[in-house]
């Protein structure tokens, strides 16, 4: 298995405050990696650095062998922002077709992505009239068009019911089995168990980077939430 993303000593300042303090990690290709951490810990910032829209202070981010954000990557990386970024005054299908057209693809690919997120019945509806959960799935559909090699999803399952969440995670694993790399942020711990690997981030530092099983073992508990808390406490004792 190759490496899809390599982050080295990444330091990011936002609003004159350092919010990522030297993050180093590698993400293997063809896997689902969960990025977990409390609100404000820097998940979105790290994700923005990976897709190449974040100004970074120092460090390197390499994606699929190239510097993050470089031109050849733009057709190979699908990005879902935390707040759904689709046009509210267009229908689901018009949105998907536009994002397909940006990749030189047609209506068939757009419709497939819509069906994949379970929005086939709502495809003629204006995005502005969708429910919150539907809207974020519309945003997700637009990123899945054209089978990108890397999918970077910032909290894609927020506001989805348990059945849909299970469906989406099943779809993520299907994609990973077919070779796609997924980086998915979440702060719902029950989703952590569904990932192949976990990156635990807190206050801009990585405090865990392993498989869920290994993290459970290391922390000596089966509950990932509890494991996360123990890792935090351990850290605090070390620094204290």
């Amino acid at each position: 298995m190759g490496t899809a993303i390599e982050v080295r000593d990444l330091v990011v300042e936002r609003g004159r405050r350092e919010v990522l303090h030297g993050i180093t990690c590698t993400i293997p290709s063809g896997s689902v990696t969960g990025l977990l951490g409390p609100s404000g810990s820097g998940k979105t910032t790290l994700i923005r650095a990976v897709v190449g829209v974040q100004i970074v202070k120092s460090g390197e981010v390499t994606v699929l062998g190239r510097p993050a954000g470089s031109a050849p990557l733009r057709s190979q990386v699908g990005y879902v922002t935390q707040a759904p970024s689709v046009y509210a005054d267009l229908s689901v299908r018009e949105n998907a077709r536009y994002f397909a057209a940006l990749l030189g693809l047609g209506a068939a690919e757009a419709d497939r992505a819509i069906a994949d997120v379970g929005l086939a019945d709502a495809r003629g509806q204006l995005v502005g009239n969708l429910s919150g959960g539907q809207r974020s799935r519309a945003s997700l559909a637009c990123a899945m068009i054209g089978e990108p090699k890397l999918l970077v999803l910032d909290e894609p399952t927020v506001g989805q019911d348990p059945v849909l969440r299970a469906d989406l995670w099943a779809r993520f694993h299907e994609l990973a089995d077919a070779g796609t790399t997924l980086l998915v942020s979440s702060h719902v711990m029950d989703e952590a168990g569904r990932c192949d690997r976990l990156l635990l981030i807190r206050e801009g530092r990585l405090i865990g980077d392993d498989t869920p099983a290994a993290i459970r073992t290391a922390a000596g508990t089966d509950d990932l939430e509890e494991a996360f808390l123990r890792l935090i406490r351990e850290r605090e004792q070390v620094t204290a």
Binding site: E13, R14, G15, V51, G52, V53, Q54, I55, G69, A71, R74, S75, V77, Y79, T81, A83, P84, S85, V86, Y87, A88, D89, L90, E94, Y98, F99, A101, L102, L103, G104, L126
Partner: protein, 245 residues
């Protein structure tokens, strides 16, 4: 730059517009209504009405497209779609030209309706061809679009964006020669007026009013306005940053 992406973007902008029926109606009807108001103010057709209505046919699309575009682009920034678009193969120029194309087309429809109303309903008379008036109106609209795209980079909120109207548009309107002939202005004012693109648009329209044939001055003026629009688009491209703090 990719033509396919530019056209897809223009199509998307037009589709957004189409879903907003009220905006379309306002876009098309308001200039004609304002011209009718002018008509009644000047008590029917005549020299003064002809002079002012002709200039207004060029000014309306400029002002309206400036406003519409700066708000549209600001929305693109605040809703996160811009951030996302810039992670796709779309080039900055594709986006900006897409906007220029879409609103240029909208302006062509608007200009045709307003010009048609002015000539047929309100009895506007010019020595030159009405088609040239529509052409100048469209180029002016594209200038408005380009300046709107550029200015939206300096606005964080809708409130700020609309404030650029008095800053960017009103001085051009005051100094374009409509209120005071440019030759009678103080030298420094005339100098400023020479540097403002709307001045040339108005001069071009005045030429159409006076001469039966299209004059070289008119074509030169039109080229200046088009050039200014391209410069503003390039400047707008420079304000689009893929990486943000």
């Amino acid at each position: 730059m990719s033509l396919g992406i530019t056209f897809a973007t223009a199509g998307r902008v037009l589709r957004q517009l189409r879903h907003d029926r009220r905006t379309v109606a306002l876009l098309i009807v308001v200039p004609a209504l304002l011209l009718a108001l002018l008509y009644f103010m000047y008590d029917g057709a005549g020299g003064t009405f002809d002079r002012i209505a002709l200039v207004m046919l060029g000014v309306f699309p400029f002002v309206i497209m400036f406003l519409v575009t700066s708000i549209a682009m600001l929305r693109e920034r605040t809703t996160g779609t811009l951030e996302r678009l810039l992670t796709t193969p779309l080039g900055k120029i594709d986006l900006l030209f897409g906007y220029g194309l879409a609103f240029g087309l909208a302006a062509a429809v608007q200009g045709t309706v307003a010009t048609g109303a002015a000539y047929w309903l309100l009895g506007l008379q010019t020595s030159g061809n009405a088609g040239l008036v529509v052409l100048i109106a469209v180029v002016n609209a594209v200038l408005g679009v380009a300046l709107g795209l550029f200015c939206s980079a300096f606005a964080r909120t809708e409130f700020q964006a609309v404030q650029f109207l008095p800053v960017v548009v009103v001085p051009q309107l005051l100094l374009c020669g409509l209120f005071v002939p440019r030759e009678q202005m103080a030298g420094w004012l005339e100098g400023i007026s020479n540097a403002l693109p709307l001045t040339y648009a108005v001069e071009a329209l005045v030429q159409v009013g006076r001469s039966a044939e299209a004059t070289t001055t008119m074509w030169r003026d039109l080229a200046i306005v088009a050039g200014a629009a391209v410069v503003a688009l390039v400047l707008a491209a420079a304000t689009l940053r893929r990486r943000t703090p």
